[in-house]
Symmetry: C2
Subunit: 228 residues, 2 copies
DNA sequence: CCTACCGATCGGTAGG
DNA sequence: CCTACCGATCGGTAGG
């Protein structure tokens, strides 16, 4: 272990600190830690301001880096966007699979749809929900060769809905062409990104804002025929 | 009438044309004609590429102007965006009012909703439908002082839906909290901007794409309880 | 991961 | 409405 050279002792107190700017500790430095921090910041800013309106400098400084440093972790700005979408979809897909798996084997199609819708609202509007809205609303900024991978994840995510909606259609609880109905249902849910505001932590006394449970209940009642 | 000066006769044939670059004819020049052309081009490009990804130079050259000329008609790029939204909403509101007025006085709430939905799809997806999608998806690019006017028009547009949805809710044909249900219905419709592709002019023999009538039928079946 | 930097693009303007 | 132009910003890179 090399200690500070004796020369340091001859300098004024303020200069006793290690020279140059302070070294980062191991935890701050190494790791995909910094890469993950960049992803989270990018997701947040891309969602709040849009991809084009967010500069890589914004992302860097909000992550505590200098302007050139994001390019050490990502080849370019589009690659950062694609990574946000990819990680977001991977996480959403994992959550969705877990939500379905937790259902009892004899769960009804309606209960299955409820779980899917509830999970979807969570992924869109819950905590750490910046990734999927970015995916939904920043498609066009991807390079053509990046679209395929994200589309595959999105298709896998939507595939879980198909048998549930088919069953509901077969039993007469869901009306209208199933393909179009699915697109409209996703529209109804995804659009919530535009208007939903979570209720404040401390509930006010007046009219309260809707919770994700409220949204789920309303959606099921709106789309399905059987009252329940 | 002043004819070309005699000196012109002494110049080579090529120079007999009026000097300088050719004057525009009255029709090309004057008018809010050019202003309207800018609006239409801007709407189209803003929709196709997004506001931030469209430069004022893109708009100018697609309208047949030089790069500085849009600023003769609009104070800045945001003012052009606001004008697109304003004109789009004015037109949509006029069409909606006409569609409602054309209904027979004894039209049922379901028929009224059908007319509203059908008109909305027309405004979103029909010919000359670039303005409203821009309004829906480029909100955040407006300056704060521009938001009010557009919001007022949008509120007026949505106000026509409220009594119809209330009547449907009262008669049990529409379930779920009416405020949330309205937001979800608009989401289902507005999202079509993301995926709808009109059927080709010459109908193919295979599976055909949905028409706006198909969408309207599916939406009504999806949202309302009574089969009809 | 920082420093220093470059080339390109862009919104906007003066003056005609 | 065009010409000529400016200042600012931005994505990205070389070299350490």
């Amino acid at each position: 272990m090399t200690s500070a050279s004796p020369v340091d002792d001859m300098l004024p107190a303020a200069a006793v600190r290690p020279r140059g700017r302070p070294r980062k500790t191991a935890e701050e430095r190494d790791d995909g830690n910094r890469r993950l921090a960049l992803l989270a910041t990018a997701a947040r800013l891309f969602r709040q301001q849009g991809f084009d309106a967010t500069s890589t400098r914004d992302i860097a400084s909000a992550t505590g880096m200098r302007s050139g440093s994001p390019f050490y972790h990502f080849e370019n700005k589009q690659a950062l966007l694609a990574a946000v979408m990819r990680e977001g979809m991977r996480s959403a897909l994992a959550r969705q699979t877990a939500a379905i798996t937790l259902l009892p084997a004899q769960a009804t199609p309606r209960e299955r749809l409820s779980a899917l819708v509830r999970n979807h609202f969570e992924v869109l509007l819950g905590p750490d929900s910046d990734f999927i809205p970015v995916m939904l609303y920043e498609w066009r900024r991807l390079a053509p060769e990046q679209v395929g991978e994200v589309t595959a994840l999105k298709d896998a995510y939507e595939a879980a809905w198909v048998p549930v909606l088919s069953a509901l259609h077969a039993s007469g609880q869901l009306a209208g062409d199933p393909v179009l109905a699915r697109l409209m249902i996703f529209g109804a849910l995804n659009w919530a990104v535009q208007w939903y505001q979570p209720p404040p932590a401390r509930a006010g006394r007046g009219r309260h804002r809707a919770t994700l449970d409220d949204l789920t209940t309303t959606a099921l009642r709106l789309f399905l025929k059987d009252p329940e």
